[in-house]
């Protein structure tokens, strides 16, 4: 048992990274989309015609979860869990684990704050539907950091197979 764990520790670490990327970013998006959905439903009780607008706000913080999924998928695909098995060294596994961290935590926290911003945007659109353009930009500012996290995670995951250790 123990020796099996040790010999596969590279794979375990990589999978742990993939799991964290998907889970943490997913948790962030779930919290944010959930809260924004509550706010959006509130607006709909007054004016159902705003559905299209508030739905966009609810969806804005959904991207982090998808970015997390993306990194998670890239990692499990790279370590051969989807196709033919590959040899993953401990160092490589650890590298994958590290590569997953930016989107895991950047996604988690940026999603939550983007959700808050989206809720505020929903309130703006409720009172002033013509200010949609501006209101949608504010949550997008928060998303920048999720995108930056995704970028580094993605570049790292792409680069790891080239490292020979």
């Amino acid at each position: 048992m123990l020796s099996a764990l040790v010999s596969n520790s590279g794979l375990i670490l990589a999978l742990l990274g993939a799991a964290l990327a998907t889970t943490l970013a997913g948790i962030g998006s779930a919290i944010a989309v959930g809260k924004a959905g509550i706010a959006a439903a509130g607006v709909l009780t007054e004016d159902p015609s705003k559905f299209g607008k508030v739905l966009i706000f609810q969806l804005l913080p959904a991207t982090q979860g998808i970015y997390g999924l993306l990194i998670g998928f890239l990692i499990i695909s790279n370590v051969g869990l989807l196709g033919e098995a590959k040899e993953v060294s401990v160092v490589q596994g650890l590298l994958y684990f590290c590569a997953a961290m930016p989107i895991a935590f950047g996604g988690l926290i940026s999603a939550i704050y983007q959700g808050k911003c989206s809720i505020a945007g929903i309130a703006t659109v409720n009172k002033k539907p013509d200010q949609m353009g501006k209101a949608i930009l504010l949550p997008a500012m928060v998303e920048t950091y999720a995108i930056l996290a995704l970028l580094i995670s993605m570049l790292a995951v792409f680069g790891i197979p080239n490292v020979t250790i």
């Binding site: 969806l59 999924l69 993306l70 930009l137 997008a140 995108i147 995704l150 970028l151 993605m154 570049l155």
Partner: protein, 667 residues
């Protein structure tokens, strides 16, 4: 591609033509009416009460058709709302207007019927509650008010608990041992027990005290009739009310044909209320009035001749000059025009600013295309928008503008998708490998960002620099136009030197060569370095040129130079082109892989189709939203930041603002 020249228009006319002139202007929809100055002779009329009356009529009509829709659903074709307002023939227009009193009285009737039926429904609920309250008493065959015969005293009432006859008798025997009780249990539940108790009349008081001590209470609303009779009476009344409700519903439903008339009336009275709003902006003497407003230079002369000829009015046109609050109107070619909508959601440009729409639209399509970058998705988007434009001819102008914009964005997406070799992710190679056992790979026309992300990152930064430099270029143009050509050197050329020079210098360094794969000769790098230093010196000296105090000026200059961090973050911000482009492509590939898991059998094919359709639809939705939002961000934050003042006043002409009917032609 410019900001349209505006014209101040003043109309001096007889008051008897006031209504006609305003109606004419409303149909033309080309003049924004502003408040006219008032003095001793020319006064502003307050017509708020008439206006409020019209708005009330409008809401009566609106309520009436909504009521009708509640009972008779309106048949609407799929995506009907894309079609915008209906056109109305002049014949119908006059039929409606001539019969407006009758239409409105029917509307009032419909609303009254709706109100009445709501009241009746509430009544029925009350009656039903009373009927239900009688249920436990139905076995009692005397009225609940029955107090006894000549020599007996009857107690009809209840206990708020479940209590058996034995327990009751026992309790009474303890409290009043001398009295003989006859107890009849009428009903008993866990919540209450209804009883009929009889005793000798001479013990009545004593008996009541004893009963009360045990928790006996009289029923709240005892009736003259026996409970069974009461129930029948209530039931009858409920039936009556139901019949009345049916009458009300019939009144509503028989007017279903009036739905369109009501909608028209809603529009018609809003139009009239709008007109009264405009009358408030006029100055009136006893016989004349003055109207002031803004219109575009293009429309001005046409309006002038029409108003003069038709109403014998005097029209004055003048150049608004540098007046404040003159609205901004943009005019662009067909490709750029759709992006005007995006600018107006941010802020309209000042009238003396250059119109950024054209340059912005080019970058808008490019940036959107790179972020979405999939030929398949672009194709879907273009086709969807194109079909919508063809199918729904009557689409409202605002929506039409957006749909057109997304169509052009779709074309750009297709282009970049071909450049980067993405068609529904890697659908072609996955499909050919899974179903035909022969992998066909269609290579990117330029390069594939998934396998070559660094190159894509460099391209994103380069495009970002071009975008930022265009913004700075507009700033230079503004300076030159306002006669301060030298400011263009201070504010634009200096930054071209700093950013451009720094890029050249970095590209000549070994460190960057490892990342970018480009190595410029050392001399070019040195020239870049020198240019950057020259630029920095210009900024240091001239960025604070408004200050006279030299110390302050240099400090301000240093602060201006600190803006270099802003440029750094602006350029890095374009990395989202890579990130979002990759996200679209890789998520698409993920869905393709999942779809292909089932193999090429029958079940596998079904699975493939389902996952493919659902997955890619999802991907299109989320990434189109992302591309839209982040294109806006790059435009508003990075690009506009370099030159845009904004805060111009949008043009709000007095026009027909109806919801359901397009009332444009002259009748």
């Amino acid at each position: 591609m410019a900001i349209v020249q505006m014209c101040k228009i003043s109309v001096y006319a007889l008051k008897k033509h006031r209504k006609a002139i305003l109606e004419f202007l409303q149909r033309e929809g080309a003049v924004e009416i502003i408040n006219s100055p008032s003095n001793d002779v020319f006064e502003v009329e307050d017509l708020s009460s008439q206006q409020a009356q019209f708005l009330k009529f409008s809401s009566v009509a609106s309520q009436a058709w909504q009521t009708i829709n509640k009972y008779c659903k309106e048949d609407k074709a799929f995506l009907e709302s894309f079609n915008g307002r209906k056109n109305i023939s002049s014949e119908n227009y006059y039929t409606f207007v001539d019969n407006k009193d009758e239409i409105m009285s029917v509307a009032a009737e419909v609303n009254a019927a709706e109100k009445r039926q709501a009241e009746l429904k509430a009544e029925i609920i009350k009656l039903e509650n009373r009927r239900d309250a009688l249920r436990p008493w139905l076995d009692l065959d005397v009225p609940m008010r029955f107090k006894g015969t000549g020599s007996t005293r009857a107690f009809i009432g209840l206990f708020q608990e479940q209590i058996s006859r034995e327990a009751l008798l026992e309790g009474l025997a303890k409290k009043a041992p001398d009295i003989v009780f006859d107890i009849e249990m009428i009903s008993s539940t866990t919540e209450q027990t209804c009883v009929f108790i009889l005793c000798n009349k001479k013990h009545a008081e004593q008996a009541e005290t004893a009963l009360r001590a045990l928790g006996f209470a009289y029923p709240q609303t005892p009736s003259k009739q026996t409970p069974r009779e009461s129930e029948e009476i209530l039931q009858k009344r409920i039936e009556e009310y139901r019949a009345k409700i049916a009458d009300c519903v019939y009144t509503i439903e028989k007017n279903v044909g009036m739905r369109h008339a009501f909608k028209f009336m809603e529009d018609y009275f809003v139009m009239r209320a709008d007109k009264y709003e405009m009358i408030k902006r006029l100055s009136n003497s006893q016989r004349c009035f003055v109207l002031t407003g803004y219109t575009t230079k293009k429309d001005a002369e046409k309006l002038e001749s029409k108003i003069t000829k038709r109403f014998g009015a005097y029209v004055e046109l003048e150049d608004p000059g540098s007046e404040k609050n003159v609205p901004t109107v943009l005019h662009n070619n067909a490709i750029s025009r759709p992006v005007e909508g995006v600018i107006s959601t941010y802020s309209m440009p000042q009238r003396n600013e250059p119109d950024p729409t054209f340059i912005m639209s080019i970058f808008y399509y490019i940036l959107f295309g790179i972020m979405f970058s999939d030929a398949g998705y672009g194709l879907v988007m273009t086709l969807a928008c194109f079909t919508a434009l063809k199918k729904f001819k009557g689409m409202e102008s605002g929506l039409k503008r957006s749909v057109k914009m997304f169509m052009y964005c779709g074309i750009s997406t297709m282009f970049w998708g071909i450049m980067f070799g993405s068609f529904f992710g890697d659908a072609i190679s996955v499909i050919s490998e899974t179903f035909f056992n022969h992998k066909i790979v269609i290579d990117a026309l330029w390069f594939n960002p998934v396998t070559n992300p660094m190159r894509m990152l460099m391209f994103s930064f380069a495009l970002g620099i071009v975008h930022l430099f265009s913004g700075l270029g507009i700033l230079a143009y503004k300076h030159i136009k306002s006669g301060h050509a030298i400011y263009a050197v201070y504010d634009t050329l200096s930054w071209y030197f700093i950013v451009g020079g720094a890029v050249l210098y970095l590209l000549s360094q070994d460190m960057m060569a490892g990342i970018t794969g480009i190595k410029l000769p050392q001399t070019v790098g040195n020239i870049g370095g020198i240019l950057a230093i020259i630029g920095a010196v210009i900024v240091l000296i001239f960025a604070g040129r408004e200050s006279v105090n030299p110390v302050k000026r240099i400090l301000k200059g240093a602060y201006g130079l600190y803006g270099i961090t802003g440029y750094l973050s602006d350029i890095l911000s374009y990395s989202r082109l890579l990130a979002l482009g990759l996200a679209t492509g890789v998520i698409g590939q993920v869905f393709n892989q999942i779809a292909a898991i089932g193999g090429s059998g029958f079940v596998g094919t079904i699975l493939f189709i389902v996952v493919f359709v659902v997955g890619h639809t999802l991907n299109i939705g989320i990434n189109a939203l992302g591309a839209y939002v982040h294109t806006n961000r790059l435009q508003f934050v990075e690009f506009f930041n370099k030159f845009y003042e904004g805060d111009g006043k949008p043009f709000e002409p007095f026009a027909v603002k109806t919801k359901y009917y397009n009332i444009k032609e002259e009748f």
